[in-house]
């Protein structure tokens, strides 16, 4: 009785009805996923992965069930025999795409490093260091960006190094990792003085905070940078060009979490808040480099090729049978 129930369950699990139901559910999941603000975490959630796992099991069972039929059709066919494996290959390819995508998600290494030219930083716990030798935002005459180019050197713990260039669409490879030019922004050096005495100097990117050494409750938040500061008719600030013609930095001073002041700093000109002076200088564009290693890359490529071959065979290389029909 139990065995019969089990067989019934497996039969339903490999049935076309269940497969179609599953695909319909996936459509619903995808529609909802296209509306959420953080799709990566939505599609990475345990229940979406569970649905993908069910789809994989369904694909495996359907492939196992379909294989003898494909082999029989292959034997019966008079010509274009390989076409008998079209749908089977398509399912296998789809299965491999999902498996390699999930495996890639789990096994791939993904790090980000950002800094200004001349900076050198560790790449998480890889034992590698990344030195940003140079970074250039190449502009056209109309100030639109032609390309972001970063000259990089990766150093390992044995003193070996590998240098190259990373730009958008042209990643650099070093020590088995791919380095991608991801994004950019502005950084300033912020010097803090207390009653005229030097306290600290930090390179701070937009969106980061600087702290004077003696009083961590005082914070200077770097809101925004305007390389060519201007004010429009409504009084709103903007940057008229991306060139450093009239650089200003918008910052906010917090004390114990409360806003104490907000202002636009002119480069090299001290801004005083109580007994503290803040000096913004050396505006520089930083680059954010993404460093990735994906061991499933080849598997993804093979899976995609198998799926394409399967689709092509299914529709355009259908086996020709003699008097006997296909199973």
């Amino acid at each position: 009785m139990e065995q019969r129930t089990g067989n019934k369950f497996i039969r339903f699990f490999v049935s076309m009805k269940f497969s179609m139901l599953l695909l319909a559910v996936i459509i619903g999941v995808c529609i909802a996923g296209s509306l959420v603000s953080s799709p990566k975490s939505y599609f990475g959630s345990w229940w979406v992965r569970a649905i993908a796992a069910v789809l994989c099991v369904n694909l495996i069972l359907c492939s196992v069930q379909r294989l003898p039929v494909s082999i029989a059709n292959y034997r019966r066919a008079k010509s274009k025999r390989i076409g008998a494996f079209g749908t089977w290959l398509c399912h296998l390819g789809m299965l491999l795409v999902i498996v390699s995508f999930v495996a890639g998600d789990m096994l791939s290494e993904d790090y980000t490093v950002y800094g200004i030219p001349g900076s050198i930083q560790p790449v998480a716990d890889t034992g590698l260091w990344l030195r940003i030798d140079d970074f250039d935002v190449q502009l056209r005459d109309d100030f639109t960006v032609e390309q972001y180019v970063a000259d990089l050197t990766v150093l390992d713990s044995n003193g070996q190094e590998s240098s190259g260039q990373a730009s958008v669409n042209h990643p650099m490879s070093a020590f088995g990792y791919d380095l991608f030019q991801d994004s950019t922004g502005w950084a300033n050096t912020i010097e803090i003085y207390k009653d005229g005495t030097f306290q600290s100097s930090d390179i701070v990117c937009v969106g980061e905070t600087a702290y004077p050494g003696d009083r961590p409750s005082l914070q200077v938040y770097f809101n925004k940078f305007y390389p060519d500061f201007a004010v429009d008719e409504s009084g709103s600030p903007y940057s008229s060009t991306p060139l450093l013609n009239n650089p200003r930095s918008l910052f906010t001073v917090y004390y114990n979490g409360e806003i104490k002041g907000m202002d636009y700093a002119v480069m090299e000109v001290p801004v005083r808040v109580n007994e503290y002076d803040f000096i913004f200088r050396d505006p520089t564009e930083y680059t954010l480099i993404v460093i990735r290693r994906d061991p499933t890359e080849i598997l993804v490529g093979i899976a995609a090729l198998i799926m394409l071959a399967g689709i092509f065979l299914s529709f355009y290389w259908r086996p020709v049978y003699g008097e006997e029909a296909a199973l």
């Binding site: 076309m16 695909l23 459509i27 799709p39 890639g104 639109t144």
Partner: protein, 270 residues
Amino acid sequence: MNLEYAAFLLTVTLYLFGAAGYFVFLALKKEKASVWAYRFMLAGFAVHTVCLTARGINAGRLPLTNQYEFALAFAWGIVLCFLIFVKKYDFNALGCFVAPVVFLVIGYAAMQSKDIHALMPALQSGWLAFHVSMAIIAYGSFGVAFGVAMVFLFQHQLQSSAFARTHFPDEATLDNITYRAVSLGFLFLTLCIITGAIWAKRAWGTYWNWDPKETWSLITWIIYAIYLHLRLNKGLRGRKSAIFAALGFVAVLFTYVGVNTLLAGLHSYK
């Protein structure tokens, strides 16, 4: 007026005449109107090709990177597939339902900005041509499948007259043409998704970012996958099959127009 704009206006006009000709053919049962309508579509396609070429020369790159250019290419892909299917199946009346779609898509193009902008770094890739070309053929095929499916859905009204029986294929043939168009589109949509994934890997380091355009391409792919499964394995035919093919094209249109206008993402290049 430059050549590109003149060609664009002439293309819109010719397709309008084509759509009007097919309407006259269908409404007034004037056979000659369909012959002229086909000629207008053919001439429109030739001028359309000139328009795309001129756009490419003016822009100094393949004209496939913004809403205007893609709408222009999308309409071109539908007409190309339409002309191939008309030739292959000797089914000129297909234009009754495809020509209005073409006119709508090119009308959408007319509403978009025609300014030429330099490409942002992410779009400066050789994969762009492969990826978008695959999308054009896929969308074009699905557009034709939609047209045939609409013919099918109106078949019952049409079949009652001797005129319709002469000019429209029987239901089985219509069903088969829909299937052929969907299977061609499915192959090219798969290629489009794969080439897009390879490009994404080169540009951002990941194959898939769950960007709304990617997600909706996957949704469209699954809808057509369900259609093909049901047709090949469950004998889906007739009215249900036609409704499915038409629904698939609604997903195609949303992937193209809806996602770009309603949902922001990596593909929303301004």
